[in-house]
Symmetry: C2
Subunit: 394 residues, 2 copies
């Protein structure tokens, strides 16, 4: 891997006709347009985001290098390499079948080749692969690059909460933001109207010409995909993780047929606990990120009206089966993220002695893992749940 021109000769003939990286690149230069963008990950959301980006780089040649490289974990699909399929047929047949991709989007199976000379790295891989990818990238990227994480969730342990963009930032030494919203990948890929939120505080070493809110807006916004750029990474990240617990509580209520009022009540109480959690563990995060952003209230709305967590809880309530039984029987071995998050959050808030501030999260955990009956939820939400501390009020 020496320079882009050589590395590209390995790719299919279709791709060889693409524009080469047109500006002079150097690891020590100040960030300035046109920016070179790489997407790390090519699942259904990764490919969808890469499609959006490639549409925008083509329309904004002064701001972006048109060619967008997408790292593909190479695998065989119907007798061919997935990267070859993407580069010749311009469809990710395995993870996003039926969606035509722009021909300036190039699949690259070599991770380091995919990111070489990039100024903007978009992370879009499953959470559990992050460590490995980061260790491969360490020392092999432009140290002045900027990053956006499209990964879901938080890293929670007994002592606290880490944001995934901070983990990326700490591992690679590059400034990292986040993108999240009410974004079912298939709908976005089909160009059905959606909105999203990008969280990106300007870095301490920001200088004019560097990646800023306008650059990110231009990179992600499409007529069918509306972008709002804010500064609050923590609020977006907390909302994205905690929504799954709330979807479970709403699913319980749905399964017991308590009605629309009760579902709305769970959603509302969940939203308040989200905000309380965010503000407790990340004092700088903003209430409006939860209440006014696509990554907040809109994503919560979507998550609480369907999806795996909602469905698992609904079936638990209908059948009386345990969470793990339902997960095994109904979800075909797929895990419901809300189960893991509910447990992690319980362990954290118990360790911190603040379970009583989060009666919805805590009661949902107790129902999921300790056979507490769902009917106790309204009682818990009145903050009468702790017999040992009867005078508690939030």
């Amino acid at each position: 891997m020496t320079d882009m021109a050589e590395s590209e000769s390995d790719v299919s003939t279709d791709v060889s006709a693409l524009p080469m990286l047109s500006h002079s690149v150097s690891y020590t230069s100040i960030q300035k347009p046109p920016f070179v963008v790489s997407v790390i990950g090519s699942g259904n959301w990764g490919t969808t985001v890469a499609k959006i980006i490639a549409e925008n780089t083509r329309e904004n040649p002064l701001l972006f290098e048109q060619k967008v490289r997408m790292w593909v974990y190479e695998e065989e699909f119907e007798g061919s390499n997935l990267s070859d399929i993407i580069n010749t047929e311009h469809v990710n047949k395995k993870y996003l079948p039926g969606i035509k991709l722009p021909d300036n989007l190039v699949a690259v199976p070599d991770l380091l080749e995919a990111v070489q000379y990039s100024n903007i790295l978009i992370f879009n891989i499953p959470h559990q692969h992050l460590e490995k990818i980061l260790s491969q990238l360490r020392g092999n990227i432009d140290p002045r690059a900027r990053a956006i994480s499209c990964l879901k969730g938080l890293r929670v342990n007994l002592d606290g909460v880490e944001l995934l963009p901070d983990i990326i930032q700490d591992a690679l030494g590059i400034h990292c933001g986040v993108l999240a919203g009410a974004n079912l990948a298939q709908e976005v890929a089909e160009q059905r109207f959606s909105e999203t939120t990008v969280g990106y505080p300007l870095p301490a070493d920001y200088k004019p010409g560097d990646v800023d809110h306008t650059v990110l807006y231009t990179l992600f916004h499409r007529p069918y995909f509306h972008v709002h750029v804010i500064e609050d990474i923590a609020g977006i990240s907390c909302a994205g993780a905690l929504k799954n617990i709330i979807a479970i509580s709403v699913g319980f209520v749905e399964g017991l047929e308590w009605g629309d009022n009760a579902k709305a009540a769970m959603l509302r109480r969940g939203l308040l606990e989200m905000i309380k959690f965010g503000r407790k563990f990340f004092p700088g995060c903003l209430v409006s990120s939860f209440t006014e952003e696509s990554a907040g209230v809109a994503d919560l709305f979507t998550t609480c009206t369907g999806g795996r967590n909602f469905k698992l809880a609904k079936i638990m309530a209908q059948t009386g089966k345990s969470a793990h039984e339902v997960e095994k029987e109904i979800l075909n071995g797929q895990s419901a993220q809300g189960l893991i998050t509910a447990k992690e959050i319980h362990e954290l808030i118990k360790n911190k002695g603040c379970e009583e501030e989060f009666p919805l999260f805590e009661t949902t955990y107790q129902i999921l893992f300790h056979g507490v009956r769902i009917g106790i939820l309204p009682y818990m939400l009145e903050n009468k749940w702790s017999i040992s501390k009867p005078n508690y009020s939030s």
Copy 2:
């Protein structure tokens, strides 16, 4: 109508066993407990709220006179007077069949008799009957009484917006708050878990012992009906009216099968326009009333997942029929409140020259009444909707 003891002799034998008003009453006394409570209106929501109140007055005899009078617009049902049915069978067979009412809830067909000596008046009648009821009450109530309006909506005209509690207050000279939330009446009546919001700023002539947030909480809160008391009447009222326009926009998107992302986007954008509208016409109203209260985000969630406005818009989108055709054919002559509100709000914001600040409301109006196609919504939400003012941004 001379005093309570005489008037009660007209009511059925069951009721004669009820406790009489037990404290000395006078129109000139300072407000103090026990408070006498009357409910004006006995539709399904009126009867449901009266049921809640009667449950609470019975449990809190030091704070409230146990007997709760509910004014019933007298009509015949299955050969009997509705008030007699309620007082003998303790069921409102016409408007809330199948729900047992507490026997300390007494139906009174005479409006002035129903409110005599009352300290707390709960208004729960259809919007269109308000003027007439107010003119009958004027001069015939305790001038120191306090009121809560459970009526929906706003009074909108070309020059501005009036809050219904203010209309009650101006007509009767009594301080008036509001109660609203994600409250489908039937679910509350069946004691399925719900939440609500009460808006009640303390009046200027408040003195200790008067109706306050604790009194109102105790009057309305039940284990199955959780109450949050705040001060912001305007926020609650605006949310209650404007949600119906948003439900129409979500219904359009549902009818065109744009998917969950788009529905969440409409809800979110609608929420933002609600807030903007509230703050514009009532600068003192709080963002949190919209984003954190049952009367705000929770009621919006419920309204946008079902109900008459959502359904009307969905069918319009599916069939291409006009709003009025759908209203006539599908809703059995019932009106969709969102249609009226969309038109009233359009006329107001047009008159004020601020349509461009409310692209969702305005575009929804244009689709409803002027045959604009639904597909233009995303474009409108990018604030490119006005050709004459291309540089507009919100």
